[in-house]
């Protein structure tokens, strides 16, 4: 017998960069969560996380799994793709038709969620890491800027230095040459965000005039990226609560 606040399901989202897990109650509130870098042996990692969460809540719960490693989550009772889980997670928070932009480690998804929470349409970047969290990670690593400081850097920029290439490999060399030419770091970072946002906007295609945009995924924690995306889409972009956990939340809700 479960009441409000009692745990009803676990959701696990095994992404390419991070592994996320949540325990939810019937109303969809997140009671516990875990976020860890994804281990190459995901089966062992998820077994350990699940054991820890079960121990913490003191009972067995149905498990929903999603993400690239979804098929290797031991004991999963529901296995669904990230598209479906992100849509369910997002809809449980906004309860209306929205366009969801999920920027994760290795892919960016645009999901058009209907008024009933259904997936009306979706688009994803194909075969290329440009336009994803990995792209930012590579360049920030090269510039030695920690992820949690990047927004402050971009906010300080006096101007934007255009970065023309959105291919991770070419952008990296382009950025290095801009630094060598004496361009200020802040301006380069802003240019980089703008170019990335334009790529995501191109993926989104033509959006309905009244479309409301929400964002999830680890990259949504970077305020500069949210701003750049809003500018590229010419729309206000709101970030979902716990953006990194939206997929795991959707998986848990599907299993409950």
């Amino acid at each position: 017998m479960t009441g409000a606040g009692a745990p009803v399901a676990i959701g696990v989202d095994v992404g390419s960069t991070t592994c996320k897990a949540v325990v939810v109650d019937r109303a969809g509130a997140i009671l516990r969560h875990r976020v860890e870098p994804t281990h190459p042996r995901t089966e062992q990692q998820t077994t350990r996380i699940l054991d820890e969460l079960r121990l913490a809540v003191g009972c067995e719960l149905p498990i929903g799994a999603t993400g690239y490693g979804r098929k290797r989550v031991p004991g999963a009772t529901k296995v669904l793709t990230e598209i479906t889980c992100h849509a369910r997670g997002a809809f449980s928070r906004v309860k209306r038709a929205v366009v969801l932009v999920d920027m994760g480690g290795q892919d960016t998804k645009i999901v058009r969620i209907g008024p009933g929470g259904d997936v009306a349409d979706f688009a994803m970047n194909d075969k290329c890491a440009a336009g994803t969290g990995r792209f930012l990670e590579v360049i920030l690593g090269r510039l030695q800027v920690p992820f949690d400081e990047v927004s402050a850097h971009v906010a300080r920029a006096r101007r934007s230095v255009p970065v023309s290439s959105t291919c991770t490999v070419f952008a990296e060399s382009e950025v290095i040459s801009l630094v060598a030419q004496g361009e200020e770091l802040e301006g380069i970072l802003r240019g980089l965000h703008e170019s990335l946002a334009k790529r995501v906007a191109a993926l989104a295609g033509v959006l309905p005039a009244d479309a409301r945009i929400v964002m999830s995924g680890g990259v949504a924690l970077n305020a500069a990226m949210v701003d750049a995306l809003g500018a590229a889409l010419r729309r206000e972009v709101s970030v979902l609560p716990d953006p990194q956990l939206v997929g795991a939340l959707g998986a848990a809700l599907s299993a409950s």
Binding site: Y68, L80, T81, E82, I83, T84, D118, V119, A120, D121, F122, M124, D126, K127, G205
Partner: protein, 443 residues
């Protein structure tokens, strides 16, 4: 080796060895199937089609005869959309490099053959059919044992312009004549002068094909005879496909990709027609029995473009496990439609229509019309448009088609990026992930 000796060998293979091998194969299978008892449903699929055995027999014989054809009978290498009917009365053995490349795709030898082509400077952006066959010619390697050398190359650009450059390369390699049928691209309706232009080329083809075969030009009676056969074959193929309008569809769209081989390579022959009669009857029987290609058909999809040959099995299993079936495909339908316009009363005049008005030679509006009609006739609740990296003419405009189909028919549509032959241009895991997400969106 003398041509008489080649001819004797060819006839022996055609009349004796081929059928004998098939008898042995047939007997072995019977023993096996007796052991296994009657055909049972295989996983998420319905029981396998009995006709598959006959299909294998037909195609194996075709390629086996091909090994002994050059030097014995005239050999033509022909593009899939070429009016092959005029070659049959002249005794040509027709080889379809596209069909051969598809076979290489299923056997997953495309990267190996293609790399040889790329090494001599052909771009990887070129259609993988072309890269596969050029590589096969250069390396003299093929999963079918041996392809006969052509005496004549027959190219029709009603499918794309790539074939023209591909066949020019073959002409330079084999030092044989190339005949070209070059139908103008059709916006709306083809104009009379377009049709005359194609007609003139057909007349020229007759002369060149006869000269190369060292025979007199075929009589009108002969052309009418083969045209009748081609039309009948096309009609029968269309009837096979139309059985999938029933619920559940008695076979899968993926089955159709394999069973298309005779209408492409043996069109205009009695054996092609006998095969489709058998297949149609089997499908009708399955419909009467309520047997589906997929065991539990829940959703019916339309597929646009060529199949992903190296992943057809994996993909069809994934779909069937979720209760989805591609009940119709624009690709298999193209062969049911084009030939239906052939009229034995006016074989050449009607061939102009048949070979000019095919799906890849038409504007986007007509392509949309075909897709929309198919989706309605086959009661599809979704469509997958394969954006084929190799086949640009088939893939162009698909984003518009997607939006129009979704909006006007109120069905779910996705674009799947892949390649029909080259696994290096497709990530199976990601592709299946996209398809799974698409299927999940139906619930």
């Amino acid at each position: 080796m003398s041509s008489t000796r080649r001819r004797v060998e060819y006839e022996i293979v055609k009349r004796l060895v081929g059928p004998a091998l098939m008898q042995v194969d047939h007997a072995q299978r019977r023993v096996k199937s007796l052991r296994k008892r009657a055909a049972k449903p295989a996983g998420p699929f319905g029981p396998p089609l009995e006709s598959v055995r006959k299909l294998k027999e037909l195609m194996t014989r075709h390629y086996l005869e091909g090994r002994y054809a050059d030097g014995a009978v005239p050999v033509a290498w022909v593009t899939s959309g070429f009016p092959v009917e005029v070659l049959r009365p002249l005794g040509y053995h027709a080889v379809y490099p596209e069909n051969h490349a598809a076979l290489c795709g299923v056997q997953r030898v495309v990267p190996h053959l293609s790399e040889a082509t790329e090494e001599v400077g052909y771009a990887r952006d070129l259609c993988s059919y072309a890269r596969t066959d050029i590589g096969s010619v250069m390396l003299q390697e093929t999963p079918v044992g041996r392809l006969p050398k052509p005496d004549l190359l027959c190219c029709c650009t009603n499918i794309c312009q790539t074939v023209l450059y591909w066949y020019r390369s073959l002409a330079a390699h084999f030092q044989v004549p190339l005949v070209l049928i070059d139908p103008p691209f059709v916006y709306g309706e083809a104009k009379p002068h377009h049709r005359q232009f194609v007609r003139d080329q057909l007349d020229e083809l007759l002369v060149v094909a006869a000269r190369v075969a060292k025979r007199r030009a075929p009589s009108m009676d002969e052309i009418v005879g083969v045209t009748k056969l081609a039309r009948e074959g096309t009609r029968l193929w269309g009837e096979c496909l139309a059985e999938s309008r029933n619920k559940p569809a008695p076979w899968t769209g993926i089955d159709g990709f394999f069973h298309i081989a005779p209408i492409v390579t043996l069109r205009g022959t009695a054996e092609c027609n006998a095969y489709y009669r058998q297949l149609r009857d089997e499908l009708r029987h399955r419909v009467a029995q309520g047997i589906g290609g997929v065991r539990e058909e829940k959703h019916r999809l339309l597929w646009d473009n060529l199949p992903i040959w190296f992943d057809v099995r994996g993909m069809s299993t994934l779909l069937a496990e979720h209760g989805f079936n591609f009940v119709c495909t624009s690709y298999t339908n193209a062969w049911a439609e084009a030939g239906s316009r052939i009229d034995p009363a006016d074989p050449l005049g009607s061939a102009v229509f048949a070979y000019t008005d095919i799906i890849l030679n038409q504007d986007l509006g007509k392509r949309f019309g075909t897709l929309a009609r198919l989706a309605e006739e086959y009661s599809c609740d979704g469509a997958v448009l394969h954006s084929d990296r190799s086949c640009k003419p088939y893939s162009i405009g698909q984003l518009d088609l997607k939006q129009r189909l979704a909006k006007q028919l109120d069905i779910k549509v996705m674009v799947l990026e892949a390649d029909h032959g080259d696994p290096r241009a497709y990530a199976v895991e990601q592709g299946h992930g996209r398809l799974t997400a698409f299927m999940e969106s139906f619930s």
